[in-house]
């Protein structure tokens, strides 16, 4: 799955450069381990809310790559019928709420999904993805307090990739870790290495289990890094090359592949086989997306009201 996300983003990047993907894109290359580790700890009935950097979050939750790619192109076969685009991908049928691109705004809404789960007794847990920069938004704090007071089954998951767009984390918070803010609401908070999917899995599993058993919300911070710029046209020249190199050495894709091979003893063939199947999945996805037509212009008048 991590490999699928990496390759999907690479394909998106190529298509964007070739002008086949309009608008803007925010790639998550480098952050795959956090996404896959976290999603592994959730059940398929659980809910997630996505960020502006949502392609990987969607794939990890089980959104179809073809429908996802078609959405980025504004095609009628897109998961949102072309109405949303890259900033709003998601498929509610697999529990991935179409992404909210206004940072911070998703946290109260995720808390509401959790509120409904508790009230209706569905046993669902909601995982609210947000970034380190978003930790400066008041909405997040209002949501964490509400979730804590009402003991709602939500996991606030911070993908800390050290930057808010072009701004270094040291410029917008005095704290070393975002997780320090959990105590302000008497909520458990932890920070873990986000490039190791197993570490992330363990942390999120503990938080999700607690939530499911009525133990209320938690804040889980995963420390990771962007391979790319903030968006497609960002060379990320503002980053210190030593910081970049140090992080890229921990790139989850090669690292985890080696571990699977050496530690878990999974053979080259099997790994290569997985990689091949990913490539063919992506070819199929591109085929679907390219052949899907644009929606009829009348569709713009639909979906305004239920």
């Amino acid at each position: 799955m991590m490999f699928l996300i990496r390759r999907f983003e690479t394909v998106v990047n190529d298509l964007f450069l070739r002008g086949r993907v309009p608008g803007t894109i925010h790639l998550c290359r480098g952050q795959e381990a956090t996404l896959v580790g976290a999603m592994g700890a959730l059940e398929s009935k659980d809910r997630i809310t996505l960020t502006h950097r949502g392609h990987g979050q969607a794939l990890a939750k089980g959104v179809d790559p073809g429908g996802l790619l078609a959405e980025l192109m504004g095609k009628t076969g897109g998961v949102c019928r072309g109405m949303g685009g890259s900033l709003h991908v998601g498929d509610w049928s697999v529990g991935a709420l179409p992404a909210i691109a206004i940072v911070g705004a998703s946290s109260p809404i995720a808390t509401g999904l959790a509120f409904a789960a508790k009230r209706l007794g569905t046993g669902r847990v909601t995982c609210n993805f947000f970034g380190d920069g978003t930790a400066s938004k008041g909405e997040l704090h209002e949501a964490m307090n509400l979730a804590s007071v009402w003991e709602l089954p939500v996991v606030f998951l911070c993908e800390n990739n050290v930057y808010a767009a072009t701004t270094h984390i040291s410029e917008y918070m005095k704290n070393e870790y975002v997780s320090e803010r959990a105590v302000a609401y008497r909520m458990p908070g932890v920070s873990v290495f986000g490039n190791d999917p197993l570490t992330v899995y363990t942390a999120v599993k503990e938080a999700a289990d607690r939530a499911r058993q009525g133990g209320g919300p938690s804040l889980v911070e995963c420390l990771t890094y962007r391979r790319d710029g903030h968006k497609r046209d960002d060379p990320a020249a503002y980053r210190d090359h030593r910081e970049v190199e140090a992080w890229l050495r921990t790139d989850p894709i090669p690292t985890f592949r080696n571990r699977l091979h050496e530690e878990a003893g999974i053979s080259e063939n099997i790994l290569a086989g997985i990689e091949e199947s990913v490539e063919s999945q992506l070819l199929a996805a591109q085929g679907f997306a390219h052949s899907s037509p644009y929606p009829p212009v009348e569709q713009r008048l639909s979906y305004v009201y239920a």
């Binding site: 949303g84 509610w92 709420l97 179409p98 109260p108 995720a110 509401g112 999904l113 409904a116 639909s302």
Partner: protein
Amino acid sequence: MSMPDLTTAPPIVRAEGSRNLTIVEAMREALREEMTADDRVLVLGEDIVVGGAFLVTLGLAEDMGSDRVLNTPISENGFLGLAIGAAMEGLRPVVDMQYGDFLFTAADQIIQQASKLRYMSGGQVKIPLVIQLPTGASGRGAQHANSMESLFFGLPGIKIVTPSNPYDAKGLLKSAIRDDNVVLFIVHKHLYGSRGRTIQHEQTSIGEVPKGEYLVPIGVGDIKRQGEDITVVANNVVLHHVLNAATTLEDEGISVEVIDPRTLVPFDVDLVVGSVEKTNRLLIVEENPSRGGWGTWIISEVIRRAFYSIDAPIARLSADDIPIPFSPPLERASVPTEDRILKKIRYVIHG
């Protein structure tokens, strides 16, 4: 599950006699009936367990349970967003904003989220949500005197309801709760007629409400008074001033037709156009400031559809383009009064 399309459904009235209620009592009845009929309905807001700012929820917590009438922290973004999420999961929240003015601290949740999430998702989600917004000036200064109806009139993806009497308030609130969309339910602070508070225009807040269950459809205006010489469109408190003025003018031989749109979005333009084609004159009275008032859009629609039926310049009365001042004589001077309405109608008729 799908709901009846209330914009087309006729009002269902099963009269079993009626009594005089205030708007706040009528709204309380609507909440009680809908909460009893459908346990997905719940109410959220600050201080609502003891009744809320206008006593709309007085006694509801006791009868419906404290898990369905919830006091929230002072976190407008937090609980409005929470209600949006809960609605997408199938609950039907009614959010009490205490004063509509406080919604601005959660504006993003309505402007960017509630009104757009369904659209951006290509119809994947549905947000049955009612937001209760007391509006207008009531002697508390500029930060408690905003006209919610005009500030959100330009926002696509929501419905806006502004009842002016108890009958409409009850029927429209029930329709709003059953509607699968985001509905701003806007009542003027002076119209609630809450007990235990000093209310101006006390008489304007009391009216007949049938005992039986009924709905008033969203999107259908109402002719509150038939007339021949001029059409006056107004809502909220100023509608009551217009009705008083119309009575006065009758003795002067001026016959005024008074239209209460009841809902601003969707707006019953046909009703206004039909009336203007009969009277050939139009005056719109709004409490909100002149710039950005909903009335200007009605004017542009009437111009488009009935330009050649208009005999006199379409007139408008609104508040000044200023924040609302506190000092009572200054506040009164800032908004349309019965006196100014009288003068304006005479002017339109006699020039």
